[in-house]
Symmetry: C2
Subunit: 297 residues, 2 copies
Amino acid sequence: MYDVVIIGKGPAGAQAGIYLGRAGFKTLIVYKDGGSLSKTDFIENYYGYAEAISAEKLLNEGILQAKRFNVDFIEDEIVMLQTDEENKVLVKGLKKDYTASYAIIAAGMTRKSLNVPGLKDFEGRGISYCVTCDGFFFRNRKVAIIGYTKFAEHELNDLLMFTKQAFLITNGKELEFDASVYKEVTVIDKPIASIYGEDTIKGISFKDGSNEDFDGIFVAYGTADASSFCVKSGIATEKSRIIVDENLMTNIDRIYAAGDCIGSYMQVAAAVADGAIAARSVTERLKADRKTARKKD
Amino acid sequence: MYDVVIIGKGPAGAQAGIYLGRAGFKTLIVYKDGGSLSKTDFIENYYGYAEAISAEKLLNEGILQAKRFNVDFIEDEIVMLQTDEENKVLVKGLKKDYTASYAIIAAGMTRKSLNVPGLKDFEGRGISYCVTCDGFFFRNRKVAIIGYTKFAEHELNDLLMFTKQAFLITNGKELEFDASVYKEVTVIDKPIASIYGEDTIKGISFKDGSNEDFDGIFVAYGTADASSFCVKSGIATEKSRIIVDENLMTNIDRIYAAGDCIGSYMQVAAAVADGAIAARSVTERLKADRKTARKKD
């Protein structure tokens, strides 16, 4: 029986664990994988590191930091959360069930991607999902954005801050915005056959047999999908984001959420604030619970 | 002429500078001092450092990080901000005036303190202003909270997570909450004469000539006061916090604010999120300005 179970070991989950463990609460982090950070090479825009830090190292530092405050870690995949009449949260995993007074969902966001041969192979090796995060690495290089929606336009605008050699690859889809205003941008509206490269990406092959070389590719294709266990658990979502109040509580009492899964700005700097605030909210609740128990004595 | 002038070099200001500099915008940080961080010894609850980091080192890392993205730093004290008809923000300093398209106020919060001999001398050496931040360093030690308001009760509740040897020093003020429910807490309602110690604090002398030794002292006396330049500049505040919208813009167009000065959770983790979000808002504005200029071409 834990005071708090946190789902996710990324920046939001670990930051919440650091606060709760340090405050003396029995805290468990259940994680499936390293989430978005583990698909990233380097982070250089998170405050506090003068030089770029590898995403793997940052993830690891956060885990060690939480462990230093006695936070437990268990690898498992969560399928459902339930609350009972005794004010407990039951967190059902594929391996085991976990019981706690409160839960914080910090499960990140699965970013919907293209199903194109080669794409997965080059994630973090020339393929990125965030121009704000990685555009800087491709200054004045030849870069493609794969996408056709307003979201792709947003990423294109960001990209033009870094390079004028920008290509928009629609994969045969009809553009949902007017690209003609971006005179320096080349639009390629052919369907993609595959992405090729060696250690890093080299370019895109199209279904008509043609190729185009690139130094980098940003995928801005569609939007992210919901954490399916939220739907199963009756946790309200909107556009695949978990709905929370100002204390980061979901529609279900005692269940909180933080980070990418609530639609925060998908940056480490934003995730840690969510983690800190969710931990503060849960701490206030646990203190109130203890004050009530104190009065009963 | 800068794209953005940021006031404050703490976590919120530097984080905003890191994003803006990295995005290629001409950015200046004007600072008076290191703010709250420079009054702190060690930080161990900010995500990303497995071991405690000295606050001075963290502050310095953030500054070097911003400088790596070509952010300029100037030491000056800001007295007023003005916007003109040409969509410029004039930032008036004691030494110089600075002009930019946008400004971000990340000036932190002056924490109102006692005027007691010895107090300033031992800041960061046994005297702290935040139990959430530093309570952990005083586990099972003998600790005093100086205060009498609801804020002092809040800090007392936090402190009881760490130690049962807790004293509440009212400095002769009448308590604004019922302390009797905290049976383990000793209330001392005598006025304070001074704080004594050697390298670190040792205790409190009272005006009646008595002494009490302590391992640590938390000051939770009253609340923080307003940044006077906001009042002068017509920037709306409430309870000495700058009022901002969801994009962190103040009531004055082109002037944004972030961090402790907008009443965020006074933690590095929260300040950096504000910095990132303010930078994103200003980035969107600058991009829109350029798109408008592009259409005029």
